[in-house]
Symmetry: C2
Subunit: 706 residues, 2 copies
């Protein structure tokens, strides 16, 4: 329902100009602070916009001392930017007028376009067409504008902007939700965190999230990129930008709505974004080291810390606290999150022992355990000692109520800062009290130190940082020898046909014979070697087990012959109309573990491969790894390592299973997926039976085409 995507990405220079317009026409500007146009106009002036402002208001001579123009057509020059929050019915004409006047960009705040159904979507598409015909770019509709502290450009009406000054910071933020942009901006301000630019993209009718992300990658004032995402418009560009962000050394964080069905429905009703498969997007983000988070507060907390130490790896944490109880809870949270409490080096312990009572100079360090009650700067000294500890990757300050908290905060901040005023180590401050800590918070803000009031945000940020630290870029996949380049034609393939295709790609399948009589069954079984498996073959019977059409462990000729008759009889009884093609006699593979390998075409990211535990485990473990196809062996192996069933594969109890063989099978399936990738398709290899020396696909089904 969205307007058509732009044919090519918007050049960064163009976006740069939109975020730093030399002139802005505010349609509907007024002094009335109950109206959008009034509020936005005041904010633009209040925050010191340095360009030319054209308040558009036919009823007034001037507004706040600035001369008005009666219409956008009457501006003395073509404005770089036009902003409007008009009733929906008036938007098209106004955009047409602005485009005709030569405006370079427009922001449409008004909602109820593609977010409100087909009719709104059609109008939205029409407006985009008009603008593009004149080379005018659009932000929105259904957005809340932009806040660019770095450029002193505020084109946003939010009450969050009712502050004296906009702190400029190193975080760029692109949001599909306007309210969340303003809310996070405001919350961040309180946390001592500032932004370079915040952009709310709304329905992304023309300019979209990636256009701004690309700009932020190149913008020297931005060190960390934050995004709130409801749906991706151009998935391949998204992944490509992730690579560029990594190369630029800029961490990219994302909160994505729609990880559940309920959230996905809600996001759709918000900006009409088609969510796509969250699991696939999550796997792409993992592969590209875009850190996905559930919570916006955690995103800001992590972004602020990463801005100072974008390349640091975090696994071990030291806790400094004013409360033994607070320290214990922090230690619990850190350990539960899969991080480690830092084990201080001997020199660190010795240094702490000078200031702390016996047994108290340990991690967590509780200032209450200091040796001398009058040791005023023990907190500063402690922070210095711990920040210098070679075994500590990051610090967590768990601050509870304490006498003279502002002094404490100042000392701790001084202790973690080097002579150049730079932070020595990644650090998270958690200010747990209510207003008792307000003066301490002011001290931190003054020093430009970010904090959160919520332990959970700091812990979640640490956990996410730890996950980022293990990032390995994907290896370039190479087609393995013997993997056919021959995409099967559209159709529904039965087990034998599917396995034949797999075999053509070099995936091991068990041997089988199609037989049409009891004697033939016995002969085939004898040739294959006992025990064998027998399965009914009929295009009309999809669920073979349900009709008694599968038998396993057949041990001799008599059994094979009897089984043939039994299977055919049962199938006939269950589905009298079925055309029965015969019975498949197969070698019975034995193994220690069943694995499922699947592949399909994802609507957003194209061919993907999925691996998980099979058999009884499939229902017990939510065990699934997804990756874009094709995939290299090293990455296929990492997929297996991420499964909870990995301990069985890697042989925690005695012998390891044939991991390399499974990796090879995944790689080969991924190339089949790649070759099928231009069409809809779905492949299930279920199960792939894994033993200590080999693996073999014993059932499979492929569908190509819708």
């Amino acid at each position: 329902m969205n307007a058509p995507a732009p044919s090519a990405p918007v050049p960064v220079a163009e976006v740069s100009q939109l975020l730093a317009p030399r002139s802005v026409a505010v349609i509907g500007a007024s002094e009335d602070q109950t109206k959008f146009g009034g509020r936005l106009y005041r904010m633009l002036i209040k925050h010191g916009y340095a360009g030319t402002i054209y308040p558009v208001n036919p009823g007034r001579e001037s507004l706040f001392g600035i001369k008005t123009v009666p219409s956008v057509s009457a501006t003395p020059e073509a404005p770089d930017m036009v902003v409007m929050a008009l009733p929906r019915a008036k938007v098209k004409d106004e955009i047409a007028a602005a485009a005709a006047r030569g405006a370079r960009g427009g922001i449409i705040i008004t909602a109820k376009f593609s977010d409100a159904g087909p009719e709104g979507a059609a109008l939205e598409a029409e407006i985009v067409e008009i603008a593009r015909a004149h080379g005018m770019r659009l932000i929105g509709p259904n957005c809340l504008g932009i806040i660019s502290p770095a450029n002193r450009v505020v084109l946003c009406s939010s009450p969050a902007l009712d502050v004296d000054a906009l702190p400029v910071g190193p975080i760029g933020f692109v949001s599909q939700s306007g309210a969340l942009m303003a809310t996070i901006f405001d919350r961040a301000l309180e946390m001592g965190v500032g932004f370079s630019h915040c952009v709310s993209v709304g329905n992304q009718a023309d300019l979209e999230l990636c256009d701004f992300v690309e700009y932020l990658i190149e913008d020297p004032r931005t060190r960390v990129i934050c995004t709130y995402i409801e749906g991706i418009k151009d998935p391949r560009r998204f992944a490509e930008l992730a690579r560029r962000a990594r190369e630029a050394g800029k961490p990219w964080l994302a909160v994505k709505a729609g990880r559940t069905d309920a959230g996905s429905r809600a996001a759709f009703s918000h900006t009409a974004s088609i969510a796509g498969s969250h699991a696939v997007l999550a796997s792409v983000c993992r592969d590209e080291n875009i850190t996905m988070l559930d919570d916006t507060g955690t995103m800001i907390t992590l972004a602020a810390a990463l801005a100072r130490h974008p390349d640091a790896r975090v696994e071990t944490v030291a806790v400094l606290t004013t409360s033994g109880g607070g320290g214990a809870l922090a230690a619990d949270a850190i350990s539960s999150g899969g991080l480690k409490m830092a084990d201080f080096a001997p020199a660190t312990r010795a240094a702490l022992d000078e200031h702390y009572s016996p047994g108290q100079g340990l991690n967590p360090v509780d200032f209450g355990g200091r040796k001398f009650d009058d040791a005023a700067d023990v907190s500063k000294v402690t922070a210095e000692i711990v920040a210098a500890d070679p075994n500590t990757d990051a610090l967590l300050y768990a601050i509870t109520t304490a006498p003279m908290m502002e002094r404490l905060a100042d000392q701790l901040a001084a202790g973690m800062t080097d002579d150049q005023g730079q932070s020595r180590k990644p650090a998270f401050w958690v200010m747990q009290p209510g207003r008792a800590a307000d003066r301490a918070r002011a001290v931190l803000r003054e020093r430009g130190i970010a904090f959160t009031n919520h332990t959970g945000e700091a812990i979640d940020a640490l956990v996410a940082w730890h996950a980022r630290s293990g990032f390995v870029p994907r290896t370039r996949p190479e087609r393995p020898a013997g993997a056919t380049v021959a995409a099967p034609a559209a159709g529904q393939y039965d087990e034998a046909a599917s396995k034949a295709i797999l075999a053509g790609y070099g995936v091991p399948v068990n041997e089988s014979r199609l037989v049409r009589g009891a004697d033939e069954a016995a002969t085939a079984a004898r040739e294959l070697g006992y025990p064998v498996v027998m399965k009914i073959v009929s295009a009309d019977i999809v669920h073979k087990s349900d009709v008694g059409g599968v038998a396993v462990g057949i041990a001799d000729d008599a059994g094979a012959a009897a089984c043939y008759r039994q299977i055919v009889d049962r199938a006939r009884a269950a589905v009298p109309t079925a055309r029965i093609d015969g019975v498949s006699v197969q070698t019975m593979a034995s193994g220690k573990l069943e694995v499922i390998v699947g592949a399909r075409r994802d609507a957003q990211f194209g061919p993907i491969v999925v691996v998980g535990a099979g058999g009884v485990l499939v229902e017990l473990l939510s065990d699934r790894a997804i990756a874009r196809a094709p995939i290299a062996a090293a990455d296929a192996r990492r997929m297996l390592e991420s499964l909870s069933v990995w301990p069985v594969l890697s042989g925690y109890r005695g012998r390891a299973l044939a991991v390399d063989a499974v990796v090879d099978a995944i790689v080969r399936v991924s190339w089949l997926a790649h070759d099928l990738g231009s069409q809809e398709f779905e492949l299930d290899v279920n199960p792939l039976i894994v033993d200590v020396d080999r693996c073999v696909a014993v059932d499979a089904r492929l569908r190509v085409g819708a």
Copy 2:
């Protein structure tokens, strides 16, 4: 290292008096606000204490206009309470003097007693003895005193008390951490939440957590009980009080430090509390519906909501929001937490459709989707409609920045309140912005409505409430027929002996014969019926498999005889010095699932039984249910239902397994555990093999005594 536990629980009346003393002697009272005594003295006066104050200060005539006494011995009457934060060396003499003067209670703030090692512990014990000898009760040491808004008694020096007024609320709080008590008090104040009483119990040398919990259960001003716990002093009393709290209709919430090794070590170094097994305590809390939480903010958020609706059950949630993005993220969090987004009843939908654009009157309800921009009271009306929805258990207000937020908050609050000013439904308010929401927060505080600034706290509180809602009290266990009352003597029991004991309790074990020669092995095997299992029997060989001492699937006489020789040879080769008693020939049980049933004596809660998945699953699923022994069948069944392996037991794929038989085995093991309960012991039934019609223990080991 703690002082001896009191011989009997302290009567509630006595605790009540300590929290409402008629007179207080403040040792070290001064005007100096850098000193503990000075701060505490000022807070006591500031918050309107109505009793008599005796500032003890030999150097001053009067302090803040109140006449001093030179020493505690010189008070004109025996003070109800004496409070002190003296250097440790002076505490004993001062307690002795106060006790001699007839003081009823004392608070010792001073730390470094049992929390600092054996020498401090000895001094602490001595002090308790002196006090008790005079009938004086002690709070602390290593605590931060008490804050009792309900009694207007503040015996605490924390800067958190530097507020104009102490709001009185329905939450009682007992904390083993003083700093956390003050921090939570302060944070709660900001969240619009007040307390009846807050007590910090420190090292619990005399009065302990349960003394105050028992008081709160009986205190009519307390509706919800919150606790911060590092270690339980009297586990049985703890469990018994949980029952009484339930009977009184008062939810009990607990944050417990030490759920990980790191947290446990930190907690020990804080108040020298022995944590005990966290897993066992967690199971007791689940059994008694004490809601355990990881985070103190979540505890306060949940407590405030429960105080209004202590009996409500919560499973379905409606989200009301000012932001489509915020609503989508809330829906994601609710679904991920195992709750359901409420599916509005037709009448609710119809009512919302009057005010919202088509497709917008759904859960989550985004006020931005309203039909008429000028509908000023749409938020009030929405809250009324949704609060009346029969399919909605609880409301979540996800508030982001919006114009006129204070008006919005006021309307929403009005909408969820009935004519008597009572909240209609459990509701959680999440105020996501920073200072842009401060005026709205003030509106909520004014109306006595609690809020949190963190979505995560509200979600975690909802998840915990949902878990509370499913509570079923434990059934009284009854000894099943045929479960011997005969606790085995101390000793290490081998497989056969352990199984014999199990069989005596009616637990099914597989049949076995001890044989001492190859021919005898074949005869025994034939009599038992093939296939059989054979295992070496030697007290000197603990890990039978490791020496090749186990063989399975022996199919005939020749195999049995050969296997006998092989097993004995292998065992001799591996452990030449081992005394070999023979070989155990056993029926080979087959089944679909292996389960482990264990039992042991927990240091805190006595005999317990543990159930989990066995075999390959044991390493893949963190699958373990714990309960105090003995246990009734209904509760044993609930243990099984809580395991991730339950789908296999209950037959998600075809036939269910013999759940009743497993339940019976657990019950019988639990009675054995009960009968052994006065001693140290450890029993492992591993595995119990479960089939569709029966289960059977095929290996077991019991140790009785240390």
